[in-house]
Amino acid sequence: MTLHRNSVAPANARSLPIRQLVLTLVGWSIALIIFFPILWMVLTGFKTETAAIADPSFLFSPTLESYQAVHARSGYARFALNSVVVAFGSTFLALLIAIPSAYAMAFLPTKRTKGTLLWMLSTKMLPPVGVLVPIYLIFRDVGLLDTRTGLIIIYTLMNLPIVVWMLYTFFKDMPKDILEAGRMDGASTLQEVFFLLLPLTLPGIASTGLLSVILSWNEAFWSLNLTSSKAAPLTAYIASFSSPEGLFWAKLSAASTMAIAPILIFGWMTQKQMVRGLTFGAVK
């Protein structure tokens, strides 16, 4: 792009190094400002509690004190396990339910397909608060309050529309010819799905799954309202730090770092494909 620019306006060529320098400076400053809270959190996690509340400084002797402390509080592992089980369980369930549905919509569309898709999306518009009370009462009555199963059910339903949508987008991108060639070669519907569709759309399915994991992992409304201790995931655990203000910044930071690190890395890895699915293919 820059090359083209030069060829169109050679006058710019001389000023280019300066332009480059300014761009680099501005770009990096903004990126660092945006990233700063995360960076600061990670750094604070390696400080002592005293250093954590002292005047801000990048110069300190790093310690694993806080990590050990968080680790020692038996709680952390349990909350983390809850997060993992709930995020992956709900994602697995959502994919299982969504794949046949998205397959039908992409390859056997009827007149109602578009309407169904839009309706599914509109259920996302239903604010959780609107149904908090009945869900809470139902869960209380059937004993799902503060259970992983309960959260998995909720997250599955919560992410189902987005998962169906994303899969639909990825499936629709798959050339129909290939499936037809498979049919000519004698593949049954199941064989079509397992030998052709799933292997070919695996990257899409994976990123859909990852987005679902990310959304479940970070979900806070239902986890704060439907769990208390037994099934509470990391979001709720971190929220419990909100009361004793300022006392355990280093530990809070260490715990938070551990809570977000896996998802942050997931996100970095899959950002490109996530955009495609998240925007329902409207943005390429």
Partner: protein
């Protein structure tokens, strides 16, 4: 190996009919080309034969058996897709062997059959590659190989050459013709390119708006188009059309007055013509001859010199007439030229666009590619039929 019959095939999407009742016979070992402009229904027709699309009405018979309700894989057909539709995650060998793998054929047998097909198509060195690592022509050959492996009774080709560049297309055309001979199979081929149709077909089916306009050998279609559409579609550059006035009908033909006043008698059957019928004259660019005494004249607007030939685009009243002339003609743009034509090379179309029947059959009109082969074999080299 196999014959195909279509009986009053209709295809409807919602309220729109895209195929409006097609009857067709494809003989054993015939190379049949469906040709027509985009949207004419040729691909839909092929997809119905393949079983990828169901016919709304009518019967499809292979070897006399109705197969409307038989699944695509069980019809004994193989199809080569326009996009090749290779399985991108499988090697060439796996691509070609996929149908046999689904059918539960043992590995050894699969490999043997794939190798056999690969040999015919010179694909042996590529068997371990994935489609991504192949060139367009190679992918095309793999797609054909996948079809050959199935040992089908009928091959279906859906615009298989349209994604290739011009040079490769000529090469693949020759290869397909050779393959047809080697495999001795019935083949149905869909294209919008009339050159592909002319060069490869035993029988061309011209489709337009879901209707068969004409069925016949390439030479029959070229010399005796049934109507104005076929006349315009077959042949390149396109046939020229001129409005003419009917002046009389004799046993020898139809007498007409040309724009500019000249009169000619065209040897076609005009017995049923009204005295005041409106007629249109059709003459192919290669049949127009520059001639100082010719009955037609116009001003040259564009001149394209191809070396061996020169295309002249001549303005005549409102029409731009194309003339294929010799490569050495000395004319320049804006020159006025006179030209004419041999009456037996001309066609007349009535107001409905139907051609008046020629009184003489062109000697080559009944020639098929098979005859062509026989002819070249018997003729001594250098001599042309």
């Amino acid at each position: 190996m196999a014959t195909l019959q279509l009986k009053n095939i209709i295809k409807q999407f919602g309220d729109t009919k895209v195929i409006k009742g097609i009857d067709l016979e494809v003989n054993d070992r015939e190379f049949v080309v469906f040709v027509g402009p985009s949207g004419c229904g040729k691909s839909t027709l092929m997809r119905m034969i393949a079983g990828l699309e169901s016919a709304s009405d009518g019967d499809i018979l292979i070897d006399g058996k109705r197969i409307n309700d038989v699944g695509p894989a069980d019809r004994g057909l193989a199809m080569v897709f326009q996009s090749y539709a290779l399985y991108p995650h499988m090697t060439v060998e796996a691509n070609m062997g996929f149908s046999m793998r689904l059918a539960g054929v043992p590995k050894e047998e699969r490999r043997a059959k794939v190798l056999e097909a690969a040999k015919i198509l010179q694909l042996e060195p590529l068997l371990d590659r994935k489609p991504k690592a192949l060139s367009g022509g190679q992918r095309q050959r793999v797609a054909i190989g996948r079809a050959i492996v199935r040992n089908p009774s009928i091959f279906l080709f859906d615009e298989p050459l349209s994604n290739l560049d011009a040079a490769l297309r000529v090469q693949m055309r020759i290869e397909l013709a050779r393959l047809h001979e080697e495999l001795d199979a019935t083949m149905i081929y869909v294209t919008h390119d009339q050159i592909e149709a002319m060069t490869m077909a035993d029988k061309i089916v011209v489709l337009h708006d879901g209707v068969v306009e004409q069925v016949g050998s390439p030479m029959a279609l070229y010399h005796h188009p049934r109507n104005r559409f076929v006349a315009g579609f077959i042949g390149s550059p396109k046939m020229n059309f001129l409005p003419v006035t009917l002046t009389g009908v004799t046993p020898e033909g139809v007498e007409i007055r040309l724009p500019g006043g000249g009169e000619r008698s065209v040897p076609v059957d005009g017995v049923h013509l009204d005295a005041n019928a409106t007629l249109e004259l059709g003459v192919r660019p290669e049949h127009l001859v520059l001639d100082e005494q010719g009955p037609l004249s116009g001003q040259i607007k564009v001149l394209e010199r191809l070396g061996g030939q020169t295309s002249l685009y001549v303005q005549m009243d409102d029409e731009l007439i194309t003339i294929m002339a010799d490569g050495d003609v000395a004319y320049r743009v804006n020159d006025t030229v006179r030209f004419g034509f041999a009456p037996e090379r001309a066609h007349l179309f009535d107001a409905g666009g139907l051609a008046l029947t020629s009184l003489q059959q062109h000697p080559l009109a009944r020639l098929t590619r098979q005859d062509n082969r026989a002819a070249t074999e018997s003729a001594s080299p250098g001599e042309q039929v």
